[in-house]
């Protein structure tokens, strides 16, 4: 196994001894759609993820407008019916988690960064990698196609609880619900292939001299996240197959009339669903570690602690899932276990946050756009984390469960993960990815235009949740007590803040695409960073390191070493006198 992997990597490596890109003149399709180059596959995932984020953003725009201005014809959508509303809510949740957070954080960044950061020329299984993206693309198309079938897109919420999701007389979207399950299952297959590739590559293809502790935190995190994903996804894939059978072949896995149990799905779903939170959190934490060390010119406060806590998070994350079912009637003794693990898992995460803040201490902090994003991630994610404590204490969860408090809580974790950390990553690695520089002013405008409206959306939703607003309500006018003075105003304020947030993303898109083609050319190492990707030219050619694969002499965070005149010491620079 490992010998074939090495053999393959070596043969690809030999092919690139010639100057990059000259061995072969690929056509458009071969270069952009049929490529086995890890960077191109990373871009494919990134751009697909961005396109899906537009869908996720549009759906949330449509249904939030309906909540704020019920019954009004929404500009760009029209009148939202109750059925539309359910489909929009479902699609928003599904798309943002499975087709935005996952592909961008794990697949796009993992594919782009892993080979560059561990100093090799490509993934160990490049064709598997290509297949992974192709399956992912098919899954996205299947999901989108569900909008155009009879009955429309699935309207059973992203958690897809049966019997609502398993019977078309309940969800009224028979074809859409099956397409939804098929799309999710396909997408998992894609990430399984990607995960195998990531783990194998990091185990086998690290640059000479690179010990495991010399692997940058973000690579550690993506690999741990992949392992976590692969270990947790099996039960859900099995559950998805059972759900497809219940929907189409009238089996009764989740049907109490036929001896099944609807709560079984909840266990299968959350056994995956909660580790999933950490699957996307860990890469985000890794991005922040990279950005913070580079822009505070400091060693990471406690590198090994971060890795150890990440491993701890991964293990504990398998024992928290039933906290989603505190009100589903589970035995109090079982709730006991899950409540204590839920509270304990916050500790390693809090520890990471402390390490990052400790890294700032005594630093030489540069106020760049990626650094702003990284710091905002810590502040916002912390708020998401501590509001989780309210829910972990099982007594209080009885009240907060299924209210807007939960919704605001997980958006305070997911938005920092899927957007704030991703913007930190994109602004940080953009010069490497495209060989050009993003505009800093536009970047900062976009930063403030995103972070301020984000808080303006979700703080009101916290208030509404505490006030007792339950979730997935199409029209609050049906509940006189939910329309008391001020409550609708908060909903309108949150919605308008969302519109502002969405509008500011145009600034990002303009900056991104303009700079991609017309931005000032970037040097190979604009941030004076240590990790190996900055040793490659910007953008790296096919094969990554035209001057030969690097050798590693030290850890990734040797900033401001007392023996050096410069305040950074790249991993691949041989020690003087060696």
């Amino acid at each position: 196994m490992s010998s074939t992997a090495h053999g393959h990597a070596a043969s690809v490596g030999n092919g690139h001894d010639a100057p990059a890109g000259h061995h072969h003149n690929p056509g458009f399709i071969e270069k952009y759609l049929w490529s086995t180059d890890h960077k191109m596959i990373g871009f494919q995932y990134l751009f697909t993820g961005m396109a899906m984020a537009l869908i996720g953003g549009f759906t949330v725009y449509a249904f939030r407008m309906q909540i704020a201005f019920p019954g009004m014809s929404i500009p760009g959508y029209g009148r939202v019916t109750a059925g539309d509303y359910n489909a929009l809510v479902t699609t928003h949740g599904t798309v943002m988690i499975f087709w935005v957070a996952m592909p961008v954080l794990i697949a796009a960044l993992g594919n782009y960064l892993i080979p560059l950061m561990i100093g090799c020329d490509d993934m160990v299984f490049p064709r598997l990698n290509r297949l992974s993206y192709q399956i992912f693309l098919v899954s996205a198309l299947v999901l989108i196609s569900s909008f155009f079938v009879e009955g429309g897109a699935f309207g059973g919420a992203w958690t897809s609880y049966p019997p609502l999701s398993s019977k078309s007389q309940y969800n009224l979207t028979g074809v859409g619900s099956t397409l939804w399950v098929v799309a999710v299952a396909l997408e998992f297959v894609a990430f399984l292939l990607g995960g195998i590739n990531f783990v194998t590559t990091v185990m086998n293809s690290r640059a000479p001299g690179m010990k495991l502790w010399d692997v940058p935190i973000v690579v550690w995190m993506i690999v741990l996240a992949s392992i976590l994903f692969m270990a947790s996804v099996g039960p859900l894939v099995a559950g998805a197959v059972m759900l497809i059978f219940d929907q189409n072949f009238h089996t009764g896995f989740f049907d109490p009339v036929k001896g099944g149990d609807p709560v079984l799905w909840q266990h299968l779903f959350w056994f995956f669903g909660h580790p999933e939170v950490y699957v996307v959190l860990l890469p985000a934490m890794g991005i922040v570690a990279e950005v913070i060390t580079v822009f505070s010119r400091k060693r990471l406060f406690a590198q090994r602690t971060v890795i150890m806590t990440a491993i701890a998070v991964g293990i504990i994350s398998f024992f928290v899932w039933a906290h989603h079912q505190f009100v589903a009637g589970i035995d109090p003794r079982m709730a006991n276990v899950f409540s204590v693990t839920t509270l304990i898992i916050s500790i390693p995460v809090a520890e990471m946050v402390f390490v990052y803040i400790g890294t700032l201490y005594g630093g030489s902090i540069r106020l760049t756009t990626p650094m702003l994003w990284a710091l905002a991630f810590i502040a916002e994610f912390l708020l998401g984390g501590v509001t989780g404590i309210f829910l972990g204490a099982s007594g209080a969860d009885i009240y907060f469960h299924d209210t807007y408090f939960v919704l605001a809580h997980f958006h305070y974790t997911f938005f920092p993960i899927a957007f704030i950390a991703v913007f930190a990553a994109i602004t940080h690695w953009f010069p490497k990815m495209f060989g050009r520089t993003l505009n800093e002013t536009f970047g900062k405008v976009h930063f403030w235009g995103t972070v301020i409206p984000f808080n303006c959306i979700f703080i009101p939703l916290f208030v509404l949740g505490v006030r007792g607003d339950h979730r997935r309500i199409y029209d609050y006018r049906h509940f006189p007590d939910s329309m008391q003075a001020g409550m609708q105003d908060l909903r309108v304020f949150a919605t308008l803040s969302l519109v502002v947030l969405l509008a500011f993303q145009v600034v990002f898109l303009v900056n991104f695409f303009y700079s991609m083609f017309k931005g000032p050319k970037a040097p190979a190492n604009p941030w004076h960073a240590n990790t190996l990707e900055w040793a490659a030219p910007s953008p790296p050619p096919h094969g990554n390191f035209p001057e030969g694969l690097p050798t590693v002499y030290r850890g990734p965070y040797e900033y401001s070493h007392p023996d050096r005149k410069e305040d950074y010491w790249p991993q691949h620079i041989a020690p003087e006198g060696a």
Partner: protein, 338 residues
């Protein structure tokens, strides 16, 4: 103090003993976490300002954290979190163990309403009447998809799951009318599912329940002297109907076969049909055999039974089925033949 905090934190009105516990935990967690969050963010902000880069290539002092610092940052949150776990779990256990003297009410969620039933009657759609100051246990299930019984003022919530019963309980602390929401997304008209819980003084509740029971349909039938048969049980009604309709010309009730199968022991027995198929003579089969006798005919009988479709009302058919059900299988009386 707590009233002031409640309003400051936007919690809704409080009307149960459990609500007091939830809110007390909420205040603790809220004040502590937000305090800690503010401190951490301020420290980060301070570092951010204090350690801003002043000149290019400004190098930094290396700093190695002592182990005690890491231990401190693990131990303090651990102790605090476990403290909250203890409180939260104490309340959760309390919440999941209703006192034995609680009044039982059944709540059935169905798209998109709540049906509340007291064991001795009455029942009601969407309105639950409970006495103040007395424990009330709600046994919850669902007719179709998963719903969730949620009374914000009581801070209670429990999923309604088809095929099983879950329970919640509360002691209402004041009279009034409060919302019952369905907190679990349940399909197209989830946002139209709204019930009320009416908390009444105990005597008023007892009077109300007694009056409702008197007014119930069954009670009215029983009380009507002109409708003698209505007072009878379904079984005796069925027995009389069998006489009136002449069922006994073909069916015996003592276990001996006649022109048709005997009714004694028929219910839930396995019967072989003329097609060779086996069926269980359950309520559905018995009803079908009255309305369309030729469809699933028991083997061995040659006379064709006439259809009673249109000749029996639904209630009459049900009474006959109940009568047949009451005829449990026994040895046939010797020589008995009608």
């Amino acid at each position: 103090m707590t009233q002031w905090l409640r309003e400051l934190l936007f919690l809704p009105e409080r009307a149960s003993t459990f609500a007091d516990r939830v809110d007390a935990l909420h205040y603790q967690v809220f004040l502590t976490t937000m305090g800690v969050w503010a401190v951490i963010t301020l420290v980060m902000g301070y570092f951010f300002v204090r350690f801003r880069r002043k000149r290019v290539e400004q190098s930094t002092e290396p700093f190695h954290p002592p182990l005690s610092m890491e231990v401190f940052f693990v131990a303090v949150p651990l102790v605090v979190f476990l403290g909250w776990f203890t409180i939260g779990f104490r309340d959760f256990t309390w919440y999941r163990n209703p006192p034995p003297d609680a009044i039982d009410v059944y709540a059935t969620g169905k798209k998109w309403m709540w049906k509340f039933t007291y064991p001795e009657g009455p029942n009601a759609i969407d309105t639950l009447h409970v006495p103040v100051g007395r424990p009330v246990r709600v046994l919850i299930t669902s007719r179709d998809v998963i719903h969730s019984f949620f009374v914000p003022a009581f801070r209670v919530k429990q999923d309604a799951i088809p095929g099983r019963y879950t329970e919640t309980w509360f002691i209402a602390t004041r009279t009034g009318v409060f919302d019952v929401f369905c907190a679990e997304y349940c399909g197209l008209s989830h946002s139209r599912m709204l019930g009320k819980v009416v908390v009444m003084p105990v005597e008023e509740f007892e009077d109300w329940r007694a009056a409702e029971r008197e007014q119930s349909f069954a009670a009215r039938l029983d009380a009507d002297p002109t409708r003698d048969e209505a007072r009878a049980t379904l079984v005796t009604q069925g027995e009389r109907l069998a006489l009136e309709k002449g069922c006994g010309r073909c069916h015996t009730v003592d276990g001996t076969p006649h022109l048709g199968p005997t009714w004694r022991g028929l219910y839930r027995s396995m019967q072989t049909l003329t097609t060779g198929e086996n069926v269980v003579a359950d309520e559905a089969y018995l009803t079908r055999s009255m309305m369309n006798p030729g469809a699933q005919k028991v083997a061995g009988y040659f006379t064709d039974m006439p259809s009673y479709f249109g000749l029996l009302t639904n209630a009459e058919a049900a009474a006959l089925v109940e009568y047949i059900k009451s005829l449990k299988g026994e040895e046939p009386a010797p020589g008995a033949m009608r």
